[in-house]
């Protein structure tokens, strides 16, 4: 029996596996991004991906944002009442939405909607030889399928987050003025008094990163899927799970970068 070697092998194999996947993912991402700099460009594909990611995600993201803003106002009002700090409700709502909840919640919702659909579409193309067919028709599949989606992710999420920020603040405003007894003018005033450009900007940068991650995980899992319908289903699940985890992990890293000094 060779216990120490087994233990090392048991640790080493998964670690190597993770490094291997991370490396391949990084190469995949670089390859995809590099096509954004080299013609020909597939503007139609970019437009379609943008509509799919931004426009069709609007209802989901809007509802999420409104309810989140409403809950934030209610929770912080009742919580802060314990130390008579109800006046901070407006600031809490706007800062939480712009810095944190807008990008993260929009990211998670879009990851569920678009990540799975992207992985399933590209995965189906892989297992039915459509990706091979693209390359026999003088079209680089990375350029045609992946690059436009990566760019669409980077552009779409910040757009959605602007909407989410506005609607979240609006939701908080409705609850505060209609049922918590705040004066509308004073509420709006205190909303913007302590808001800094960096609060909004950091949220938008986060959103761009999350959008990229969602598109990347959808494309990568679809592109590398194999084994028929089951493989495609697996790719869709993996795309959503991995994108969601990466969003939360990168959220921490980016927050640390922006605000911890």
């Amino acid at each position: 029996m060779n216990l120490p070697a087994d233990v090392f092998a048991g640790i080493g194999r998964p670690v190597l596996g993770v490094c291997f996947t991370a490396g391949r993912l990084a190469l995949f991402a670089l390859d995809g991004l590099s096509h954004l700099l080299r013609p020909p460009f597939h503007f139609r594909r970019f437009g379609a991906a943008l509509v799919e990611m931004a426009y069709f995600s609007l209802p989901v993201v809007a509802l999420t944002a409104i309810f989140t803003g409403m809950v934030l106002a209610l929770q912080s009002y009742t919580g802060f009442a314990r130390f008579s700090a109800q006046g901070a409700v407006a600031s809490v709502v706007v800062l939480s939405m712009t810095r944190e909840l807008g990008p993260v919640l929009a990211g998670l919702m879009v990851a569920g909607r678009v990540g799975a659909a992207t992985a399933a579409e590209i995965g189906t193309m892989r297992v039915t030889d459509q990706i091979d067919a693209l390359s026999t028709l003088s079209t680089d599949p990375m350029k045609y399928l992946v690059a436009p989606r990566l760019l669409a992710g980077i552009v779409a999420l910040p757009m959605l987050v602007v909407v989410a920020d506005i609607l979240g603040v609006f939701g908080g405003f409705i609850v505060s003025t209609a049922s918590l007894g705040f004066n509308p003018t004073i509420y709006l005033h205190s909303t913007f008094t302590y808001l800094e450009t960096m609060d909004v900007a950091s949220g938008l940068i986060k959103a761009a990163v999350f959008g990229f991650l969602i598109a990347l995980m959808g494309c990568y899992n679809g592109y590398t899927s194999r084994g028929g319908a089951q493989g495609v289903g697996h790719a869709a699940t993996a795309a959503v799970v991995s994108a969601s985890i990466l969003i939360l992990a990168f959220d921490y890293v980016l927050t640390q970068l922006f605000f911890a000094r």
Partner: protein, 258 residues
């Protein structure tokens, strides 16, 4: 005098998937402007062979030359430029199901020759017409077509940009006999009139003899026989004889495949 350079020359091509050796030293020459028919049992590696030539599968060993250029040693971009001159009809069609039929057919034209969409549309309708498909079919999506119609659309897509090498993976399976003959005629037309070089995989002996100048049989990972397609039925090779006459008894045993 030297023999003219073959359009496609394959030497010692080998490919395994895991333990399974699918190709085990394939040698094949296809002279320019001719058509070669490849026959062989199901699972003998015919599709793998042409996917290797197309650069879609990386072989383990061997040489592949197109116009005398060793494509396996080329850098990816150069290699893509070479393989972009090859049109391919996939065994399962592989139509883009998110695009209407006419965009499928015109895809290569729009990607490569940068023609405008209106011209591409007209050209697509013309090719569809040659294959017996009305222009209104162009508006449909692949999922709305019958299997045989999908096959014809896939064929239209492969030949639309008039590539100088054409691969057909079972062009006539799933078609009725008359449509099969029409397709054969179209393939012949590409070779004879446009001077393309063609490699066709088929299980249909009548079709093989109609479209092929030469024929080759793949068995056990190697080319076990090659000769004029006209002599397929009287080749004198026991393997080919059993295959072309569809006999149960003979040197080829049905293997249980892993």
């Amino acid at each position: 005098m030297t023999t003219p350079l073959p359009k496609i020359r394959v030497r010692g091509l080998a490919k395994s998937f895991g333990e399974k050796r699918v190709l085990d030293g394939v040698d094949l020459d296809v002279p320019a402007g001719t058509s070669m028919v490849v026959i062989g049992g199901s699972g003998s590696g015919k599709s793998v062979l042409i996917k290797c030539i197309l650069g879609l599968i990386e072989p383990d060993a061997g040489r592949i030359e197109i116009d005398g250029v060793d494509v396996l040693s080329l850098r990816p971009r150069k290699r893509r430029a070479v393989t972009a001159r090859i049109g391919m009809l996939f065994q399962n069609g592989a139509l883009f199901d998110s695009l209407p039929v006419w965009e499928n057919v015109a895809f290569g034209l729009m990607a490569q020759k940068m023609v405008r969409r209106i011209e591409a549309r007209a050209r697509a309708d013309e090719i569809l017409g040659q294959l017996g498909l009305a222009a209104s079919v162009g508006e449909l999506f692949p999922a709305e077509l019958s299997g045989g119609m999908q096959k014809r659309v896939a064929l239209a897509r492969a030949i639309a940009a008039t590539p100088d090498i054409l691969f057909f993976d079972e062009p006539t399976t799933g078609l009725d006999p008359i449509m099969g003959a029409v397709i054969d005629g179209l393939i012949l037309d590409c070779v004879k009139r446009l001077g393309s070089t063609a490699v066709a995989i088929t299980h249909d002996m009548a079709s093989a003899r109609r479209i092929g100048d030469a024929a080759a049989m793949l068995h056990g990972g190697r080319i076990v026989w090659s000769g004029p397609a006209a002599s397929l039925l009287e080749s004198g090779n026991p393997l080919v004889d059993q295959f072309t006459h569809g006999r149960r008894e003979g040197p080829i045993r049905m293997e249980l495949r892993a």
